[in-house]
Subunit: 187 residues, 2 copies
DNA sequence: CTATATTTCGACCAAACGGTCCAGTTTTTT
DNA sequence: AAAAAACTGGACCGTTTGGTCGAAATATAG
């Protein structure tokens, strides 16, 4: 699965070949096909495996906590995942970009249920005057977009600011904190 | 080129076949190879063609204008491009996601020069106390990420909020406006 | 009209790819 | 130790894919 993640996240589904994966995994093609019946099966197994970890940060958003604190913690967790596991982020980016043909059921099921639930929490916070009046859904999209950007567009970020990885994420953290926390302050 | 954009933006470079493109363009394979020498040449031509239009909004950021007004105009232009030409956005997303093998020279050349220049402008605004203290580069990344998200992750957005396209972009606009303008206010 | 350049077409090719097969080896179970 | 199960390697196969070729059709020029 490590080899599959390495290859699929770099070249996408169609861009990856079985030969690349077995070579990266240092095994033979028949060995792989002993465990999986097709290329798609490897890909879907990898997607499913990674997806669970991917949803965790949002589940931790606590309705009982302080709104601004909770949201900022969520942003930090997501940003940290982009730094520590950019390949997983790119794997999903590829899948979604191509229309999510393999995980559509998870999007409409598990993910939608989770997002709907958390958006209710956020809406409650807004109604209580603890957050600026924004659309909870679009707020979550903003958080996803800004944090995953550092994984998905790593090459571009790397090209435009030469900084080493640590400084880059520290600066990103500070800018996100300023804009999100300042921006979400109720007026 | 329309057919190429349609196909490449949907399936990515490796995921697209010459046959798909010529079929979408309603022409024969040899006809296509009369104009282009290879699949890559079609792809690069399309990328270059689209890239020019893509950079326009940033060039219009006016150093002489009102900082918050200028940045908000830029955001609106970018968001509008995601709505009117999502395929172009996805074409680039694919390319960058895979390491930008075909447009690296543009990233390090033209794009970097433009971004560096505009970041100087933004830094000046910050130094004059007209904007909150953020990293100009990461601010631009935030703008790119949040606006292009609606094109690149259209399927996911569509799945999670059932709204029609118009309402969706109106809500996105309002949320981005609140958070960015509120967030960038100097304190 | 004739000749030249441009454009189109279907047939074809070689390489790459996903996947199969089977004979053999290693590991586990009894 | 014997038998069964799990696992591996490499040769092989059919399809897809990027790309070629030459002949025919169409347009342009003198």
């Amino acid at each position: 699965m490590d080899a599959a993640l390495e290859v699929f996240s770099t070249y996408g589904y169609r861009g990856s070949t079985i030969d690349q994966i077995v070579q990266a995994a240092d095994m033979s093609k028949s060995s792989l096909f002993y465990y999986f019946n097709s290329k798609t099966e490897v890909y879907v197994a990898l997607l499913s495996e990674t997806l669970e970890e991917w949803l965790k940060p949002l589940t931790q958003l606590d309705p009982a906590g302080d709104p601004l604190q909770e949201i900022w913690s969520y942003i930090e967790r997501k940003l940290d995942m982009s730094r520590t596991n950019p390949k997983a982020s790119r794997l999903f980016a590829n899948e979604i970009l191509h229309g999510a043909p393999n995980i559509m059921s998870i999007l409409t099921g598990e993910l939608k249920a989770l997002v709907d639930e958390k958006c209710q929490t956020i809406q409650l916070w807004i109604d209580q005057g603890k957050l600026a009046q924004v659309s909870p859904y679009h707020l979550i999209f903003m958080i996803w977009a800004t944090t995953q950007h550092y994984a998905d567009y790593e090459v571009q970020v790397d090209t435009l600011i030469g900084d080493d990885c640590d400084k880059r994420f520290a600066d990103a953290n500070q800018t996100l904190k300023t804009i999100f926390l300042n921006g979400l302050l109720p007026r």
